[in-house]
């Protein structure tokens, strides 16, 4: 038996197909047009959406659609060792993949010559912060009233001690063999983010995607619930499934 999984139980007590405890909340910031907060394991991430709004600098505006801008940033106190506040190469890449994971769902043609800004701030980091960030960002977009064809939800799967597991924690991500974040538009079934770090067989790859999609399905339920809590609280008699 490896040191990360013992008799099918992981270091934090989870089974291989279990998510860490999570909490989702919509509408947490007053100034933002839309906002959301997620906790997933030790991750604590707050997301704000501003827009659609005028584009500065003007020359990046597009005549037939909006531009989407995304910034993933970690607070200096979010990590074990203090992170300098200036954006790192890692944060810049993650900002890009998050933007590209969210963009397919936004009906960009409805907002010509405008910009939509998505800001993700990691207040405390754990494994899988980009996935948690995407899950919250989709809620913030919905909260901002942006037209979308679906939500987006993300979850990672990976290989730890030779076993495929769902939702890697910090230590599993660092010590494990492979990590594979996946984002999906849950109702359309279209995958909008896929990254892979590490070696997997074809069989493991398929297993990993299936696991990640199952995690996404559960998180999507939580997303729906968070939106319901925010927008349907005033109508207690209304039956929602």
């Amino acid at each position: 038996m490896g040191k990360l999984i013992n008799n099918g139980i992981r270091l934090d007590g989870r089974r291989v197909d279990e998510l860490r405890p999570y909490k989702l909340e919509v509408g947490v910031l007053k100034n933002a047009d839309g906002s959301a907060y997620i906790e997933l394991g030790k991750n604590k991430i707050i997301v704000a959406v501003y827009g659609p709004k005028e584009v500065h600098p003007k020359h990046i505006a597009l005549p037939d659609r909006c531009v989407i801008r995304c910034r993933y940033h970690m607070s200096p106190f979010s990590t074990d060792v203090r992170k300098t506040p200036a954006p790192s190469r890692r944060e810049i890449e993650i900002s890009k993949v998050i933007r590209e994971a969210l963009e397919p769902t936004i009906l960009v043609e409805e907002y010509p010559r405008t910009a939509i800004d998505i800001f993700l701030e990691v207040l405390q980091s754990d494994g899988g912060s980009r996935c948690a960030g995407i899950t919250a960002a989709a809620l913030a977009l919905a909260d901002a009233g942006i037209s979308m064809c679906d939500l987006v939800v993300a979850c990672a799967a990976g290989k730890v001690d030779g076993t495929m597991v769902l939702d890697l924690s910090d230590i599993e991500d660092k010590e494990g063999e492979a990590d594979m974040p996946v984002a999906v538009m849950p109702n359309l079934g279209i995958i909008t983010l896929l990254q892979l770090d590490g070696i997997l067989t074809h069989e493991e790859f398929k297993q990993g995607i299936d696991l990640a999609l199952e995690g996404c399905r559960r998180l999507h339920e939580a997303q729906r619930k968070a939106l319901m809590d925010r927008y349907f609280k005033t109508a207690p008699n209304q039956e929602v499934e």
């Binding site: 100034n31 607070s75 200096p76 979010s78 203090r82 506040p85 800001f119 405390q124």
Partner: protein
């Protein structure tokens, strides 16, 4: 700092209305001139930090986190640890905040708060020395502003002080070779007094405390005064292009002492509640 711009005409009407009200000793949100908005302080919210606190001052929301590292002292103060206070107004905090390096407003914010903590002597930096001239503890206090609604200086200051008061640092031992060994035990960061800043805005002839965004958008001058326990002043900063009279400054100093003591009790309570 500008207030929410919905309509240009409405904005002017509200400003005129605000000034009219202030002349009668009242404010748009119903507060008296020397009332703070509700102060909510939650400590130890970031487990990965050595100390942390979130402060909500009305709709202004800030989070401070403390990280303690080992670093080299400044050559001119070989017998003192390092204290660095850094605040960032995150782009998610306001429609007017931009991503990028801190602007002049954010730098003033960091420096005014830093001065209050440093000059109060709250943290005895000489107790943070491991090997004089070579290795000292470096205390980084980083502040992320999450939502801007005026008076960032006070919100940041209370968050920084509360985070420092809840900070636990690892016990360090200097081995014979001059290496640093980290123990599994944690001790509180030694602090003595609690510095509390009180920020005033002058609008016309009225002096108010804790201005919100809307009030800041019309204020003529701003002054922040920080007191230590017992009421002595330890730091101050006047801001903006307008001036203040001698009487206004004396009034502010006296008020900073009284309000400071009230807020000090709020901070103590919040810190005590997390043990």
């Amino acid at each position: 700092m500008a207030a929410a711009k919905k309509s240009f005409i409405m904005e002017h009407l509200r400003k005129a209305h605000m000034i009219e009200l202030l002349a009668k000793g009242r404010r748009l949100d119903g507060r008296e001139l020397l009332d703070y908005r509700p102060i909510e302080i939650k400590c130890n919210i970031i487990q990965k930090a050595n100390g942390s606190a979130q402060v909500n001052l009305g709709n202004t929301q800030v989070i401070a986190g403390v990280k303690i590292e080992v670093g080299a002292p400044f050559p001119d103060t070989p017998d003192k640890g390092l204290l660095v206070v850094n605040a960032e107004i995150l782009p998610l905090a306001s429609p007017y905040a931009e991503p990028g390096p801190p602007d002049e407003e954010a730098i003033e914010l960091s420096r005014v708060v830093d001065r209050g903590v440093r000059e109060s002597g709250m943290i005895d930096l000489s107790k943070l020395v491991l090997i004089p001239g070579q290795k000292v503890r470096a205390v980084f206090v980083d502040v992320s502003v999450l939502n801007v609604d005026g008076n960032l200086i006070d919100a940041t200051s209370y968050a920084v002080v509360s985070a420092l008061m809840t900070t636990k640092m690892p016990v360090l031992e200097v081995s014979e070779g001059g290496g640093i060994v980290e123990k599994a035990e944690y001790i509180p960061l030694p602090f003595s007094t609690i510095p509390v800043s009180v920020t005033f805005a002058r609008i016309g002839d009225s002096l108010i405390v804790d201005p919100d965004s809307e009030e800041e958008s019309v204020m003529d001058a701003r002054i922040t005064l920080t007191t230590v326990e017992g009421g002595h002043l330890c730091a101050g900063q006047k801001g903006l292009a307008g001036g203040l009279t001698y009487e206004q400054i004396m009034f502010a100093a006296e008020t900073a002492k009284i309000k400071g003591q009230e807020i000090r009790e709020v901070i103590k309570k919040a810190v005590a509640s997390v043990g």
